[in-house]
Amino acid sequence: MNIIFIFIFAMWLLILVGGGIVVVLLGPIEISGFGESDRIIKSGIQVVISVILVIIWILALSKIKNWIFHKQLKT
């Protein structure tokens, strides 16, 4: 049972760390030189980075899940 509390805590830490990475990576992105398209290109880059981060987040969570719930999942 305590293992679920640990998993929730691990998810929370991943959210904090993930939030930091999002702010550091997505925040400073500025595109110029493409005129009207600047905003679209900037948004496109943000979307791609976000999708990659979400995939990494899910993979990390899966690893943690397998590691924490190893015994339970075997049952």
Binding site: I15, R39, L61
Partner: protein, 330 residues
């Protein structure tokens, strides 16, 4: 008393008492018309009225309309329309057998009023590190937020009292967090969700007299997601919902696709001779939160429910810490 306090007290009382007084007649009406389903976790053949969505949406709409009378804000209007649309999605799913993709897609459309009314701030606030401005990407977050919260609450509605009890804890946590980040208007607008959940819990708790059904669970979850968006507390709201998120995550990672409960062939939970809940050993059964809780050994339905509530309180504490950390970052 300031108008804000009057609005908070009036809307909370209306939300609570509309559900408190409307649900018993709803139960009687459903029982008369044979709109009942079997409670599979009871030893005897127990039939329970379903769905409780109409009384839940009644409490929410009436109380939020009162708040709209006080504040006349687009945010509250967006909350009312999006939550009502979520209810319609749920009631369609209650009445007709729809595919696994129906609810997520239909709930995505329910977010359109939030976008059209401009009831959001495209800055995404993170704890410690501050805000990030993502105008285009934020629209995508709005579109996925309500389907995720709606389906997440629906997926945790597996035992007597769990969905309404869990939502009571999560939504009051969200209210506290909204007060911490000083978004007072949306904090007051979030109060009806907690009081509606609390009033419904009276009839939904073990042994249930009524089940919320898809219309009830999706309405509660949909409004929670809409509040997270219009209140600018997306991350905090996700943290408060972590036990339910874990349930969905474990389910999806074990089944590899979105599916309805009725489509599951191998059941994750079975019963002992004395009708306690017990985790199954079937390899094809989905991994769920309840199955993990039962990994230690059989427990009564009530015990499992209280364990989920303890997890909700733990997540709530983490959400409050997150709200304080979000304040630090700004």
């Amino acid at each position: 008393m300031t108008p804000e306090i009057i609005a908070a007290v009036a809307s909370s009382a209306i939300a609570f008492f509309v559900v408190y007084f409307m649900t018993p007649s709803l139960i009687k009406g459903f029982e008369r018309r044979n709109l009942t389903v079997k409670d599979y976790n009871k030893k005897d053949h127990v039939m329970v009225a379903r769905p409780g969505g109409p009384s839940i949406i009644g409490g929410i709409v009436v109380s939020e309309l009162v708040l709209y009378g006080f504040f006349s804000s687009n945010e509250i209007l967006a909350l009312i329309i999006t939550t009502s649309l979520a209810f319609i999605v749920g009631i369609i799913d209650d009445r007709k057998v729809m595919g696994g993709w129906f609810k997520p897609v239909a709930l995505a459309f329910a977010t359109i009023p939030i976008i059209l009314l401009g009831a959001y701030d495209s800055n995404l606030a993170f704890p410690i590190f501050g805000d990030v401005k993502i105008p285009a990407l934020y629209i995508a977050i709005i579109i996925v937020m309500v389907p995720i919260t709606g389906n997440t609450i629906n997926s945790i509605d597996v035992l007597n009292g769990v969905a309404s009890g869990f939502m009571t804890i999560a939504s009051f946590t969200l209210t506290i967090c909204l007060f911490i980040i000083q978004n007072y208007e949306i904090a007051i607008a979030s109060l009806p969700l907690g009081f509606v959940s609390l009033a419904f819990y009276k009839y939904h708790k073990f042994p249930s007299k009524i089940f919320p059904g898809d219309s009830g669970a999706v309405t509660l979850g949909g409004m929670y997601g809409a509040l997270a968006i219009v209140g600018g507390v997306e991350v905090v709201a996700a943290v408060a919902l972590l036990p339910a998120v874990i349930n969905s995550f474990l389910f999806l990672s074990s089944m590899k696709r979105i599916m309805e409960h009725r489509e599951i062939k191998a059941k994750p939970v079975t019963h002992t001779d004395d009708f306690k809940l017990k985790a199954t050993v079937e390899k094809d059964a989905p991994v769920t939160l309840v199955r993990l809780i039962l990994a230690d050994g059989p427990k009564s339905e009530k015990e499992v429910g209280y364990t989920i509530f303890r997890l909700a309180v733990f997540s709530g504490i983490l959400a409050v810490i997150t709200a304080f950390l979000t304040g630090v970052g700004q």
